[in-house]
């Protein structure tokens, strides 16, 4: 029976090209990542594209041309890969505590709250680049915007009426409000609200309001004062006057054991353009438990020298106690 040689009806995979192997048409070998098909039987003819014996069947692609070689892009443990405007790019690993955020286009590591906030009381805010720490403020401060209005900050509340000093005292004879409290360049006037109480409950004694210069009560005749006093048990108004003196006598019937309210308003303190004037206003309950009070009002003028450092003393009998709160008014 006649036979017809149809040749190979399928490709014959021969594995890697071997120079010692005899190849027939349609044998397929691999070499250098390419595949070649034999188009003419031979032995010892190296593979190649479009030679007399071989044609390339499939070419190897460029190594990583579509995905970049990630092993060279990601150089460090923890790196991430992302697509930038033109290609895959490396996002270097962040630092401990950072979190992955999204910028306008590309991702970026940003500080997370756990690493940004280091101290009790800190708060978190965002500046132009990311989360930032605002360290806690000090006692009494408030949170406000900075002068550029782009970040918060702690500060004091600006006011025309500012508390300068406050506190309590016990078992004292004199209370000196020093010149350093009265900054004349900042404040036009001052209001000092004082509670006073005689510690031993006595009625006797007296108190003085004594202008001070450079830490000491003044002497001489630079002070003049006048005032009125009334008791709730009578409608009699008693006049009080003291001219060319060094102080104003207040509480001339004693501070007493019930807390008195003493308010001193002053102007001209440590100012070169004004003498010192003081309103001294006080009310005190009766010492014997009766429903009775006494009210005194004193106007005190201190003809000060321009260079003096002004303060004042409340001089009392020993053992007085109370509280004070001094405000400045701009």
């Amino acid at each position: 029976m006649a036979t017809i040689n149809l040749g190979a009806i399928k490709f014959n995979w021969k594995g890697a090209y071997n120079n010692s192997t005899a190849y027939a048409v349609d044998d397929v070998v691999s070499s250098g990542g390419n595949s070649y098909v034999c188009i003419q039987a031979s032995q010892g003819n190296a593979v190649g594209n479009a030679t007399a014996y071989w044609n390339i069947m499939s070419a190897a692609g460029t190594n990583g041309s579509n995905g970049t070689d990630l092993s060279s892009t990601l150089s460090t443990r923890g790196d991430l890969v992302f697509k930038n405007a033109s290609a895959l790019a490396r996002l270097a690993k962040g630092t401990a505590g950072q979190v992955l955020g999204q910028g306008a286009n590309d991702p970026a590591w940003v500080n997370g709250s756990s690493s940004t906030l280091t101290t009790q009381g800190d708060i978190l805010f965002r500046d132009s680049s990311g989360l930032q720490r605002l360290a806690k403020g000090s006692a009494g401060q408030v949170l406000k915007m900075n002068s550029a209005a782009n970040a918060p900050e702690y500060g004091t509340v600006s006011s025309d009426y500012v508390k300068i000093a406050s506190g309590a005292f016990n078992d004292v004879s004199n209370v000196d409000f020093a010149a350093s409290l009265f900054v004349g360049s900042t404040y036009k006037s001052f209001i000092n609200m004082i509670e006073l109480e005689d510690q031993d409950g006595g009625q006797s004694g007296n108190s003085e309001f004594r202008p001070m210069v450079s830490g000491s009560p003044i002497s001489g005749t630079a002070v003049s004062s006048c005032g009125i006093a009334m008791n709730s048990s009578s409608n009699t108004v008693s006049g009080l006057g003291r001219d060319a003196a060094d102080s104003c006598i207040i509480y001339n019937d004693g501070v007493r054991e019930s807390r008195a309210l003493l308010q001193i308003e002053s102007n001209g303190m440590n100012r070169s353009d004004c003498n010192n004037n003081h309103f001294i206003n006080n009310i005190r309950p009766n010492h014997d438990g009766a429903i009775r009070c006494r009210w005194d009002f004193h106007a005190v003028h201190h003809n000060r020298t321009a260079s003096s450092a002004d303060g004042y003393r409340i001089q009392m009998n020993a053992g007085a106690k109370g509280t004070y709160c001094l405000y400045g008014r701009k």
């Binding site: 004292v172 004879s173 006598i249 020993a318």
Partner: protein
């Protein structure tokens, strides 16, 4: 009882016992002020007495002294 002074500065508070001349000055002033106050009280009492006497004499139609008259004449 201790005689002292509480000095309140802008940056702190300091309690100081008075000694020597400062203590003496304090005691002298307390005493002097007491004298002033006693004199004021005595003056008030005297004026009240004169006023009462003037009132009684006016009611009785008797002549007033100048001091009594001063308590009722402005």
């Amino acid at each position: 009882m201790t005689i002292n002074k509480l000095v309140i500065e802008k940056d702190g508070v300091n309690l100081v016992d008075l000694e020597g001349a400062e203590l003496q000055e304090y005691n002298d002033r307390i005493s002097a002020n007491q004298t002033v106050i006693q004199a004021e009280e005595a003056e008030k009492t005297a004026q009240a007495t004169l006023k009462a006497s003037a009132k009684a004499k006016l009611i009785a139609g008797e002549a007033l002294t100048e001091a009594e008259a001063n308590t009722v004449v402005l």
